[in-house]
Amino acid sequence: MKTENQIEIASIEELRNEILSKRKPDQPEIVVAGGTCGFASGALEIIDALKSELKKHNLEEEVSLKVTGCHGFCAIEPAIVINPGNIFYGGLLEKDIPEIVSETIMNGKIVERLLYVDQSTDEKILHEEDIPFYKKQTRRLLANNSRIDPLNIEDYIAIGGYSALEKALEIGPDSVIDIIKASGLRGRGGAGFPTGTKWEMTRKAQGEEKFIVCNADEGDPGAFMDRSLLEGTPHSVIEGMIIGGFTIGSNIGYIYVRKEYPLAIEHLHRALEKAHEYGFLGEDILGTGFSFDIEIVRGAGAFICGEETNLLKSIEGAIVEARTRPPFPVNKGLWESPTALNNVKTLSSIPLVIGNGAEWYSNIGTNTSKGTIIFALVGKINNSGLIEVPMGITLREIIYDIGGGIPKGKKFKAVQTGGPSGGCLPEAMLDMPVDFESLTKAGTIMGSGGMIVMDENTCMVEIARYFLTFTQDESCGKCTPCREGTKHMLDILTRITKGEGHEDDLTVLENMGNLIIDVSLCALGKTAPKPALSTMRYFREEYEAHIKNKKCPAKVCKALIKYSIVADKCTGCHLCFRNCPTKAIVGEAKKAHDIIPEKCIKCGICFESCRFDAVRIE
C-alpha cells in the first residue's frame, strides 16, 4: 500500500537531476565532522557557535551548514571543512569560530593558526585529503561520511545513492550474484566468507520465508567502524540490504545493532523513514512489484551476540547460546528459515560493487582479498581514528605513514588485529601484507577491523590476561572447553602476572589453548586463546622473565615492581608527597623523600608527576 506522503519516482536519475537543479553549487558551505566521536570532542558546541555567529552576521541564508558523519581523524576533532576552497580546520575551540566566520567566510582569508601542521615537516596543510593521515588511504566506503548529511536522503541520492538498487532491480537476482561473485567481495565481519556465494546459497535454499540480517553488534573493545558507517551513511547499509533482500528472495530484513549506539540507532530510524517516503522500502519498490521492509533490533550488550547463531537467537528472543552448525543460517537461520547474515561494512559495499561493477571493486587488493578494509586504529598511536586502506597494504604503512608512529618517541612493541580474540604481532611482522590469509597464518585474525597499537610500556602477559578476562566473561558457558578451559587459562595468566608462575605453565597454556580452539563450539571459544598463544609465540622471553626471574620487563605488573626515590635526583619539591593517594611518601620540603613500601599501592602517580626523574620503578 502506498502511503499518502510517498513520492512518485520515474527514475533515480531524474530524481537526482531534480535534486541537483535545486542546489546552489556556489553557495558557501561549512561542513562539520559529526558522529559520536565528533560530538564527544565538542562538535555540538562548534555547531552552536557557528549558528549564532552566522546569525549575528545575517549569513544564515547565504551560508549552508552541514553536519556529516565522522571523517575518521579522531585525534584532531572537532574539525570543519569550508567551501569554496576546501579549507580544513581541526582541533577547534568555540572561541575560534568568530574568527573563522569573519575571516574565512566573509573575507576569503585563511586562518593560518588553525591549519593542520604536518608533524614531520612542520608544513601547514590546507586540504583535508593532503594530510598524511588521509593520503595513503583509499576511502571508498568512508568517503560518504565526509560528503553527506546522513539525515538528508537527498544528499545520498545526489551523489548517486539508490542507483545501484535501481540497477539491481533491473538486472535481476542472478546477475547481482554474478557481479558480487566476480568482485571477490568477502564478508567483513571477520571470517571472510565470499558474499556472492552466501547470497546464492540463501537464494537457492528451500524455505517459504527468507531473511536478511545486518550484524551491527560491534562489540570489540576499541572498535567503531560499523558505528561510524551507520551514523554517517545509513542509506548505504539500507540500500545494500534492500539489494540483498531482492537477491535472496526476502521481504524483511533486520538490523541487529548494539543498544550502546544511540546515535546510530537514531540515524537508522530516520533513514528508514525517509527510504519509505521515497518508495525505496515498503510495497512495490520503484514499481517493480518487489516489497521489502527493515526492522531494527537492539542488542542488550552481550559480546557473544556478535556470533551469528547467538545473534539470531537474540532476535528470536531466546536465551543466547551458540548453536552447532550445520545447519548453517543460509539454510536454517532465523525462525528456522534461510537467512543471509552480513556485516555492516559488507552491506555498505554492495551499492558500490553493483553501481561501479565487479572490475572496479576488484582492481585493488590482493589475489584472494579484494577491495578496501576499514580499521579502527587506536592505542599508542599518534593519529588515532578510522582508516580505510587497500587490502595488501603493510602494517608498517598503516602504523607509521597513516598512524604517524608511536607517541612520545616510544618504541613500537606489538599490534593486535581482530579485537579481543585476535593475536598480537611483533615488529618483525610489520612488513606483512594485510589480508585474510596472511593474518591467519601469522596467528591472528582479520576480525571486523579493530587494530590496537602497543608501545614498549605494554606488558604482553598482562595484555593476554586482559583480553582473556574479557572473552572469558563474555563466553556463553554452553560448551565445556570454552567455559571451563578459558577460566583455567585465565587463572594461570593471572598467577604469572602476580609472580607466582610455575615452570610448566607455558606448556600447559599452549596445549590447553590449542585444545580449546579445537574442541569449542563457536567462534568465541575457537579464538579466545589467540591473544595468549600469539604473545607466547612472539614474546616468550617476557613470559619467562615473569616466571623465572619474577620480573615484569615492561614494569606494568604491580606484584613484580617496586617504586623508590633516587635521593640524588630528588629535589624535595613535595609534588609526589602531595599527590600520593595513600600518603606513602615521607620527607621534608627540599630534602630527599622516601616511599614506605607497606603503604605504596603502586598506582604510579608519583612516577608520572615527578619532574626530575627521581622516581624509579624496579
Binding site: 558457558g477 571451563e484 577460566k487
Partner: protein, 202 residues
C-alpha cells in the same frame, strides 16, 4: 538416503540422521553426556566429538559433535582417532577438575585414561593437581534437566542463569519453583545425580 563412511564402514541412513545415530547403528560406541534421544541435540558437553572430512576434499578434517551433526553424503568419519581421543580426554579432565567427587565423571575420565599421576599429560596433570579448585559440584551443566523440563514437561521450572564460568542451573529467583510439578524427569536424566528428589512435608 545419504551414504557415509564411519571408521571404514559404509552405511546408508535417512537424511537428517545424526552422525551419532548412524555410528550407533554400526555398533560403534561414542560417549555422550548432554545427549538424550528424546530431546533436541545440544552439542554442549563435547564428549561425542568425532573427526569429519569429505570425500575428495582438500580441507583438513574438522572436529564435530556427532550428536548434532547431520550425516552427509560422502562424509568420512573417524570416531577413535588420536585427535578425537585427545579432545575427549581434555573434556573429561575439565569436567573432573570441576566435579572431582562425582562417581560418574571419575568413571568417564578413567575410561579415557585420565590419571592424576600422569605427568606426561601436562594439561591433565595441571588440571587435576595444580589448578585453582572451584567450588566442588556434581553438576556438569549439560542442560538435560532444563531441556527435558522445557521440551517434554513443558514447565521450564529450572533454567540456566549467568554466563561463562558463572553459569549455573537455578530455579527462578533461587526459590522453590512454582511451576515444578515434581515429576522427577530432571533428576532421572541427570547424568551425575546432581539433582535429588525429596519428599516435602505437608
Amino acid at each position: 538416503m545419504v551414504k557415509l563412511t564411519i571408521d571404514n564402514q559404509v552405511i546408508e541412513v535417512p537424511e537428517e540422521t545424526t552422525v551419532l545415530d548412524a555410528a550407533r547403528k554400526l555398533g560403534i560406541k561414542i560417549p555422550t553426556l548432554c545427549y538424550n534421544p528424546h530431546l533436541k541435540p545440544y552439542g554442549g558437553c563435547r564428549m561425542c566429538v568425532v573427526e569429519r572430512t569429505q570425500e575428495n576434499s582438500t580441507r583438513p578434517p574438522d572436529l564435530i559433535v556427532s550428536c548434532a551433526y547431520p550425516a552427509e553424503n560422502g562424509a568420512i568419519i573417524l570416531t577413535g582417532s588420536e585427535r578425537v581421543l585427545k579432545a575427549r580426554k581434555f573434556v573429561a579432565e575439565l569436567l573432573l577438575a570441576k566435579c572431582p567427587d562425582s562417581k560418574e565423571i571419575n568413571e568417564l575420565a578413567e575410561s579415557y585414561g585420565v590419571s592424576r599421576n600422569d605427568k606426561s599429560d601436562v594439561v591433565g596433570y595441571y588440571l587435576l593437581n595444580r589448578a585453582v579448585s572451584v567450588n566442588s559440584t556434581k553438576c556438569v551443566l549439560c542442560g538435560l534437566c532444563t531441556r527435558v523440563c522445557a521440551e517434554l514437561v513443558g514447565m521450564s521450572a529450572v533454567s540456566f542463569s549467568g554466563r561463562g564460568s558463572k553459569r549455573k542451573i537455578k530455579t527462578p529467583f533461587d526459590r522453590i519453583s512454582k511451576t515444578c510439578i515434581g515429576c522427577g524427569a530432571c533428576a532421572y536424566l541427570c547424568p551425575t545425580k546432581a539433582i535429588r528428589i525429596e519428599q516435602a512435608e505437608e
